[in-house]
């Protein structure tokens, strides 16, 4: 456990370094902008992984938090003249408050929870169309300068902080509580895991991260309408990306998010039709669900274990390890005969 956490932290540090290098490379403003969007998407995937992966609550409502964060930051900058950082703070707080409304949904489980969150996100969009500032036609406000490196730095910084939070959560008591809740809610309850509190904390963290990236996303645009901020894509795409990468793993959302975004980008750049894109995405999802439910990270872990164990087998020195927690079979039968 500790060694896997250590390696994850090394990977996170390496990832942070990679992000810094990526940011300093001289590139056209367009490519820079796309990379920033990719990092924002990875951030959203990380946020979904907290509730969907760690806590095992299949939410399809992340768009609500993303959209609330986006509107919060946009309004803070546009109508109240706040700076970038305070605006992002507003986004985080508003998204977390929105998450409190979702807490009663924990009464529902599994598929019911999925539909419930989906419904709430849909309601959020309709309500925004009618009651959000600007209504259906949206709002304009001041965005980042086109060649500013600020959005990239904020996105990359956000991802690093979010990853650090995830590592911290997994190491804490909350992480173990979440694992218990994910595996068997009733069993977790019966051994005294405070499931409601644990799930609520995960939801708040997830919403806060989503709100941050929603706010950042809005600040890169300069224009926002309900269809953009609350698009169903913000609920579905992170879910799919995390499934692709590996649900409940630390690196899953990063890998899956980067690949998913890259895939969509490549499809647009190569001039494929949206139909081909849908077929490709659908086929990937079906393949993952049928053949590799633990995603890319899961497959990679399995392959690595296989490789490691094969080495051990070839040595001949180490016999294959006995099943954990059970004495070797010979000892058991031996004592049986003696008594």
């Amino acid at each position: 456990m500790t060694s896997s956490l250590r390696s994850t932290m090394i990977a996170t540090g390496g990832g942070a370094l990679l992000l810094v290098v990526l940011g300093t490379l001289p590139m056209s403003a367009y490519v820079d902008g796309r990379i920033t969007q990719a990092v924002i998407f990875v951030g959203l995937a990380i946020s979904w992984n907290v509730i969907g992966g760690f806590a095992g609550q299949l939410s399809i409502g992340q768009a609500a938090f993303f959209g609330v964060g986006a509107y919060g930051a946009a309004e803070a900058v546009g109508s109240h003249g706040l700076g970038t950082l305070p605006a992002l703070g507003v986004a985080v707080v508003l998204a977390a408050v929105a998450a409190l409304i979702v807490v009663p949904c924990f009464r529902a489980r599994g598929a019911y929870f999925a539909v419930l969150t989906l419904a709430l996100a849909a309601i959020a969009m309709r309500v925004a169309e009618r009651y959000a500032p600007g209504g259906n036609s949206g709002i304009f406000y001041e965005a980042f300068e086109i060649d500013s490196s600020m959005p990239y730095l904020l996105a990359a910084g956000g991802v690093v902080v979010a990853m650090a939070l995830c590592v911290f959560v997994l190491r804490s008591k909350m992480g173990r509580g979440l694992a218990a809740v994910r595996m068997d809610l009733d069993a977790a309850r019966s051994v005294g895991v405070r499931d409601m509190a644990t799930r609520t904390q995960a939801l708040l963290l997830s919403a806060a991260i989503a709100g941050y990236f929603g706010g950042l996303y809005a600040l890169t645009l300069g224009f926002l309408d309900p269809g953009t901020a609350f698009s169903l894509d913000w609920s579905v795409a992170p879910l799919l990306a995390v499934v692709l990468g590996g649900m409940g793993t630390l690196l899953g959302p990063v890998i899956g998010g980067a690949i998913w975004f890259g895939l969509e980008e490549a499809i647009t750049q190569l001039g494929f039709t949206s139909d081909t894109a849908l077929i490709l995405q659908g086929a990937i999802l079906l393949g993952i669900a049928l053949a590799a439910p633990r995603g890319i990270v899961g497959v990679a872990t399995d392959l690595w274990r296989l490789y490691r164990d094969r080495d051990r087998g070839e040595d001949g020195a180490d016999p294959p390890p006995a099943v954990e927690g059970r004495p070797p079979a010979s000892a058991e039968t031996g004592s049986g005969v003696a008594s």
Binding site: L58, A111, V115, S274, L278, I279, L285
Partner: protein, 287 residues
């Protein structure tokens, strides 16, 4: 008063679509425990096949079912054997993801086959006028079709041995197996019934709006709404649930605004799940 009657007719006509889709969703959930995100896309496929039957082959709309049903049943059987059955013992999250993948795949394939531009056929435009109230024939046809389909389904589920095996499997899979029910066959039957009803809903959509590959996916959320308000896997409560939701939606759209109408449907879901998660379907007997 005229507005009210007008609105009710519209609401009931919507309810006809919802009840068919709701039953489709509920049948598969009842027997397999899977919330099928691809259900709306079966409906879309049905609508497109109907479109081709009318425009390319020249069949009448009513006759197009002879193509819609076989096409959908083939796709449904493929879906069952490649996705639903292999994933029967998988984590439910992954099954949801798989049906979602199926939905995307079908939307892509439909777009590839028929193109993404909105398509439509010549609609049945006739209507009765009583004073200031217009009652389109289509609305009545939809309501009648839904009623016939419901009646047929009830006969199948309650009076045939195959239908009874579906109900037994939905109630208690292992119990049904112990009593000698072929649960695999029951599952297949439920899937076939489900996609056939979706295809019928597609026929109604063809009369109602222009087709795009995404048309079903937008409707499937409403089908979920109806099925949840009735109680997932319960067929008994579906008709009243569909009528209530259809009327509610059309009332809010008439007297308030279109976008709030959709919000109301989802609000009904939220309230149902919070107040009475098992739905308002009444009896405890499922399917």
């Amino acid at each position: 008063m005229e507005t009210f009657i007008q609105m009710s007719v519209l609401g009931l006509s919507n309810a006809a679509v919802y009840v068919l889709l709701g039953i489709s969703v509920s049948l598969i959930f009842g027997v397999l425990g899977v919330l099928n995100f691809a259900q709306g896309d079966f409906m879309t496929l049905g609508a497109y096949v109907g479109y081709s039957a009318v425009t390319a082959i020249g069949l009448s709309i009513a006759a197009s079912v002879v193509l819609i049903f076989p096409a959908l049943i083939v796709v449904g059987v493929i879906f069952y054997f490649t996705v639903l059955r292999p994933m029967r013992n998988h984590q439910h999250e992954m099954v949801l993801v798989a049906t979602f993948g199926t939905a995307l795949l079908m939307q892509g394939l439909i777009g590839l086959a028929w193109g993404g531009d909105p398509l439509g056929i010549e609609r049945i435009t006739g209507a009765w006028r009583i004073d200031n109230v217009t009652i389109p024939h289509v609305a009545l046809i939809n309501i009648a079709l839904a009623a016939i389909a419901l009646f047929g389904l009830m006969i199948t589920l309650n009076r045939t041995s195959l239908g009874r095996s579906v109900r037994a499997t939905a109630q208690d899979r292992i119990g049904a197996q112990l009593a000698g029910v072929d649960t695999n066959r029951a599952e297949l039957t439920a899937v076939v019934l489900s996609v056939a009803l979706s295809g019928l809903a597609g026929l109604m959509i063809l009369q109602r709006e222009l087709l795009t590959p995404q048309v079903g996916f937008e409707l499937v959320l409403k089908a979920f709404a109806v099925a949840i308000v009735a109680g997932l896997g319960r067929i008994n409560g579906l008709l009243p649930a569909a009528i209530v939701i259809g009327l509610m939606e059309s009332a809010v759209a008439t007297y308030a605004s279109e976008s709030l109408a959709t919000a109301t449907v989802f609000l009904a879901v939220v309230l149902t799940l919070l107040i009475r998660p098992q739905g308002f379907g009444g009896s405890r007997v499922r399917v």
